[in-house]
């Protein structure tokens, strides 16, 4: 019942694009111009015109997507056609160049087009890969409810820490301050959350304390050691509270990394558009310059 844009109407646009590409390739090899193949032959002009029209039409997808009352086909059909016909540009435009590249505006237009198409391919990959991963990662909750739970766990942690020691309280507070989800492009893309180090290292230290009963001496993690110190020397009730705190911290950590992963996956599905769309506009500029200059120097 759900029909993906890739399989739309039994691969209607894949067949269409395939025919277009096949036709171009056949024509290219069948055609033997006087000079080397280039954009100036009749086939070159034909392929160039097809390519230019395609580029303009592909750009109009952005317009179609935003005109919500538009009844020219469905958006799914448009995307299907956009993907397959956009892909066919690689063949059409490359054949149009006749493999003549140089340091000029024409090649700039070609390179920009390739970037747009390839970023689009990455988009298709992201659209195929991340939706399922995202659903699996979220496991029936929403990002909002995970964030709410994190906030609750933070509160709980502080409450428990309060009952132990001011040093531990300080440490939990710092850990909460350090937990940052989302943020800039890079921290989104690399699923960075400040919450994870704390717990992992605490656990490590705990194990070490148990094994060697030795006090680790690392300058960067004084709060952790303060806690471990405390734990090794603490009486039954305090260590119980500490364990409780560790449980809370680990739960929070796993949630925080889930949220970070969620943000990352969303970012992967969005990031390519920040190349795809602006470069499309650069491409339109370069394409205009390419066409004008070709006719100007004719």
């Amino acid at each position: 019942m759900h029909d993906s844009f890739l399989t739309f109407r039994g691969f209607r646009y894949l067949s269409f694009a395939g025919l277009l590409m096949l036709g171009s390739v056949v024509a290219y090899f069948w055609h033997s111009p006087v000079t080397a193949p280039n954009g100036g032959t009749w086939l070159g002009y034909t392929l160039g015109t097809i390519g230019a029209v395609l580029i303009i039409w592909l750009t109009l997808f952005g317009y179609r997507k935003r005109t919500y009352n538009n009844r020219v086909g469905t958006l799914r059909g448009w995307l299907s056609a956009h993907v397959y016909l956009g892909g066919s540009l690689i063949i059409i435009a490359t054949l149009h160049t006749g493999f003549q590249f140089g340091m000029n505006i024409h090649t700039v237009a070609y390179v920009l087009m390739m970037i747009v198409v390839l970023s689009g391919f990455f988009g298709v990959y992201a659209y195929l890969r991340y939706p399922t991963l995202m659903t699996r990662n979220r496991a029936s909750t929403s990002r909002e409810s995970m964030l709410e739970e994190i906030a609750e766990l933070d509160e709980e942690c502080i409450k428990v820490a309060d009952r132990i020691d001011s040093k531990v309280h300080q440490m939990v507070l710092r850990s909460i301050e350090r937990t940052r989800l989302g943020g800039g492009v890079f921290s989104q893309l690399f699923a960075h959350d400040g919450a994870k180090d704390a717990v992992e290292k605490t656990k490590e230290m705990l194990d070490k304390v148990k094994e060697t009963n030795e006090r680790p001496q690392t300058a960067e993690m004084p709060t952790m050691f303060a806690m471990v110190d405390f734990l090794s020397g603490a009486g039954g009730q305090e260590s119980e509270k500490l364990r409780q705190l560790l449980d809370l911290l680990s739960r929070k950590k796993s949630l925080a990394s889930k949220v970070a992963k969620d943000v990352q996956q969303q970012a992967m599905m969005d990031i390519w558009l920040y190349f795809h769309v602006p470069i499309t506009f650069a491409l339109l500029g370069a394409l205009t310059a390419h066409i004008v200059s070709v006719f100007f120097y004719w």
Binding site: H2, S4, F8, K65, N69, R76, Y127, P131, E155
Partner: protein, 800 residues
């Protein structure tokens, strides 16, 4: 002896105000008795600036007071002015606690001991505004309130919420965001509240957001002069007396039903239904002579109706036989009827001819007719077609109507004057089961679903007649199309209507049983236990039957039938049905063929238990009562929210769906969006009757919504919200070329808050937009689809 007024009006709501003003205008000695210091307490208590609507539009206003739609302040201001202008005699702070008939006059006892005498009494106390008070000293201090309009109005206060019901809990939890809140519970638990509310308050208490006193009663409330906090409350706790200084007390102790008071005046109610209203004559007189009832208490909740009645009742008391305000409207409705003379005669004719309407009063009939339409279709005209989603009810006043019971053979049965049709869709909430074609000289009354349901629920006789006809017709159409009605009497007589709640079991796998269930409202799931696990095999929507196998030989149930939602079935007795099978050998063959098909489908589902899991999941989400539901395949959804954007862009800037919210099973996600229920919960209590079902099944809210929010509260799926009209956006090219925002898909209000009156908005399935729902049409990846429950089984199979 004190003055004897001609008319005493009790209660200064719209009805009472209008009556008193009319009496003043006409120079009749009168008094208007009001408990509060202000007039019209219910509307006075509305939230500040709330828009008051003047529905129904078609009804003219007939009152000395002005009333046009507008903000609460303007409406109240106009009334205050009108009351002053007509020099109306108002006694404030006169709460009437008893009305007693003494020979030719009434004695009204006022709280505090006063007495007022009047020849006639107009009771217009409404249904609301009788909040139960604390019942302790200080209950009327200014910082003690019994309602809460907007919890965000209060910040940094110490507020004590008294009560343990839903209202108290909701208030306490929402106030706790920016105040110190203490809740006082007379008992030791919050069991009276809804589960969600109970969980919410216990969590708030656990988190320390709300403080609580259990097993605590209130001793008194004191005002404190000059202190930081204006008040102090003294509580009797299990540990002794406690005093708390506070800014505000919000007591949510419910409303006292006025019924006890009304009955104490000698007025009789027709039945025990708490929603029932006293019976009154066309002149609004109750069974107590000289005691008149108007307004909401008489069953007329709309302001304009109530005001008109106020005017009319005074005229009636004066002895003027005024034409009711609805007379011209009814006249124009009946105009089409052949041989029309007067409205009264037409009404009499309707009642004489249509036995279904015989037991109702003339006033009820007037209102019934006001909502209904008289139709005189030419012979051969289609009244409705099979599979239409309309759900109006038709009564035949004159002439004939032919019902096409079998589309293939074109076989029809004809109905004559006095009969009715259209009850199948009315009851089941599903599509029309047959086509109706007008015959010779047909004069019909077409009644909307809500009006008909109101009648069915208030008049038992009407319900009984419709139920019997329903059973007869459903047996005829499903099992015995060729058998005349008189031969089905035995099976109809033995049939019973069974009610099930969601999750109730009709019969269990392995049980022996010999009855058939025809689902008339709701739906069922059929499941089997395989390997210790329940596997859902199919879903049975209304209009279908289960359990026939037991009558075809094998009398052990092969599967379990469970109600997916609140369900009503017609249970057909096994013996009587077997008799029918003997008489109708073809029926046996047909049932066997259907059974074989069903068994094959069940087998294929058993082979793919994941499909059954999807059905169980969807049924648990209330798909069982849906007619059309939006589903998202999360394996395809790229979370672009284009569905929401498209919805907002095609519907005045407010999206009616929330993609992310809602549960997910495997990759099937049910977003928060309207399912267009068979029996829409939102329609239940819509004062202006603004929610309708379009012929294609879309449930939509019309423009005459008054913004009361009832539908929002009644929707169990949270798909309705209140929204103001959004500002218009610049076009896409202006946005693209000149940066004029907000752009397509962006919030039209921008940073500004949307202003203006709020109305309810919900999905209308883009009715009126060609090409189908915008959410599905604008999904770039094919993740969003809409399906109807009939497609559930094939949908489940397509996933596995």
């Amino acid at each position: 002896m004190a003055e004897v007024f001609e008319i005493a009006v009790v209660g200064s709501g719209p009805a009472g105000l209008s009556a008193a003003a009319r009496a003043a205008e006409a120079g009749v000695s009168h008094v208007l008795l009001e408990t509060e210091l202000h007039l019209s307490n219910t509307i006075y208590r509305y939230q500040k600036g709330k828009h008051v609507m003047a529905e129904p539009d078609i009804l003219p206003l007939r009152s000395p007071l002005d009333f046009v739609a507008g903000p609460r302040e303007a409406v109240l201001g106009a009334w205050d002015k009108g009351i002053a202008h007509h020099k109306t005699n108002v006694y404030h702070q006169n709460e009437v606690i008893a009305i007693e008939k003494q020979s030719d006059q009434f004695k009204l006892t006022v709280k505090g001991g006063g007495e007022i005498h009047a020849k006639s009494v107009v009771l217009s106390i409404g249904l609301q505004g009788n909040f139960r008070k604390l019942g302790t000293p200080g209950e009327d201090l200014p910082f003690v309130q019994y309602t809460l309009d907007d919890p965000d109005e209060y910040a940094d206060e110490t507020i004590m919420v008294i009560g343990a019901g839903d209202a108290a809990i909701e208030n306490a939890v929402s106030l706790a965001k920016q105040n110190r809140v203490i809740i006082v519970n007379r008992r030791d638990e919050f069991a009276r509240a809804k589960d969600a509310n109970e969980a919410a308050i216990l969590k708030a208490i656990e988190d320390g957001k709300v403080e609580v006193f259990y097993n605590t009663t209130i001793e008194r409330v004191d005002a404190v002069e000059g202190a930081e906090k204006p008040g102090k409350i003294v509580l009797n706790t299990p540990d002794g007396q406690a005093e708390v200084e506070l800014d505000r007390i919000i007591a949510r102790l419910g409303a006292i039903p006025p019924r006890r008071f009304v009955e104490s005046c000698g007025i009789v109610f027709p039945n025990d239904d708490p929603a029932s209203v006293p019976e009154i004559t066309p002149k609004y007189e109750s069974n107590v002579e000289g005691l008149y009832i108007i307004g909401a208490l008489a069953g007329y909740p709309l302001i304009k109706q109530a005001m008109n009645q106020g005017y009319e009742v005074v005229e009636f008391i004066k002895g003027n036989d005024v034409e009711p305000a609805d007379e011209p409207l009814l006249r124009s409705k009946f105009q089409e009827m052949p041989g029309f003379t007067t409205v009264h005669d037409a009404l009499v004719k309707v009642q004489n001819n249509v036995r279904l309407l015989a037991p109702i009063t003339e006033l009820q009939l007037r209102e019934f007719m006001l909502d209904s339409d008289v139709r005189t279709p030419v012979p051969g005209e289609k009244i409705f077609s099979i599979n239409d989603y309309t759900n109006t009810f038709f009564s035949i006043v004159e002439g004939q109507v032919n019902i096409v019971v079998d589309e293939e053979t074109g076989r029809t049965i004809s109905l004559g004057a006095g009969e009715f049709f259209g009850e199948m869709s009315l009851i089941s909430g599903r599509r029309r089961s047959a086509t109706a074609i007008a015959g010779q000289g047909a004069v019909l009354i077409e009644t909307p679903r809500r009006t008909m349901n109101k009648l069915i629920n208030s008049v038992d006789a009407v319900k009984r007649v419709i139920d019997e006809a329903f059973i007869m017709r459903v047996i005829q159409s499903r099992f015995a199309p060729d058998t005349p009605a008189n031969k089905l009497q035995d099976i109809v007589a033995a049939a019973t209507i069974q009610n099930y709640r969601a999750g109730d079991v009709l019969f269990e796998e392995g049980e022996s049983g010999d009855c058939i269930h025809l689902v008339r409202v709701g739906s069922l799931t059929i499941s089997r236990t395989i390997g210790g696990r329940e596997v859902v095999l199919s879903y049975v929507p209304a209009g279908n039957y289960v359990g026939e196998m037991a009558l075809l030989g094998d009398n052990t149930r092969s599967a379990t039938a469970k109600a997916a939602i609140a369900t009503e079935t017609i249970q057909l007795d096994g013996e009587a049905f077997k008799q029918l099978l003997l008489r109708e050998p073809e029926l046996r063959l047909r049932l066997q063929a259907e059974y074989r098909q069903r068994a094959a489908a069940n087998l294929s589902m058993e082979a793919q238990p994941e499909g059954g899991d999807v059905i169980s999941f969807l049924v648990a989400q209330g798909v069982g009562e849906a007619t059309d539901i939006l589903l998202i395949d999360e394996a395809l959804c790229v979370r672009c929210d284009n569905c929401e954007k498209a919805c907002a862009e095609t519907h005045n800037g407010t999206s009616r769906l929330n993609r992310e919210a809602g549960p997910t099973y495997a990759t099937v996600h049910v977003p928060t969006s309207c399912r267009h229920c068979e029996h829409p919960h939102c329609m239940k209590d819509c004062p202006p009757d603004a929610i309708h079902r379009a012929p294609n099944g879309e449930v939509f809210i019309a423009d005459n919504c008054i913004g009361c929010g009832n539908c929002q509260r009644n929707c169990p799926y949270g798909v309705i919200h209140m929204s103001a009209q959004m500002p218009k956006k610049p076009g896409i090219l202006q946005w693209l070329m000149f940066g004029r925002g907000p752009g397509p898909g962006q919030d039209p209000a921008g940073k500004k808050k949307a202003k203006g009156e709020k109305k309810a908005v919900k999905c209308d399935m883009c009715k009126g937009i060609k090409g189908g729902p915008a959410c599905v049409r604008s999904c770039p990846t094919g993740a969003a689809i809409r399906i109807s429950p009939e497609e559930l089984s094939s949908y489940a199979q397509s996933l596995s």
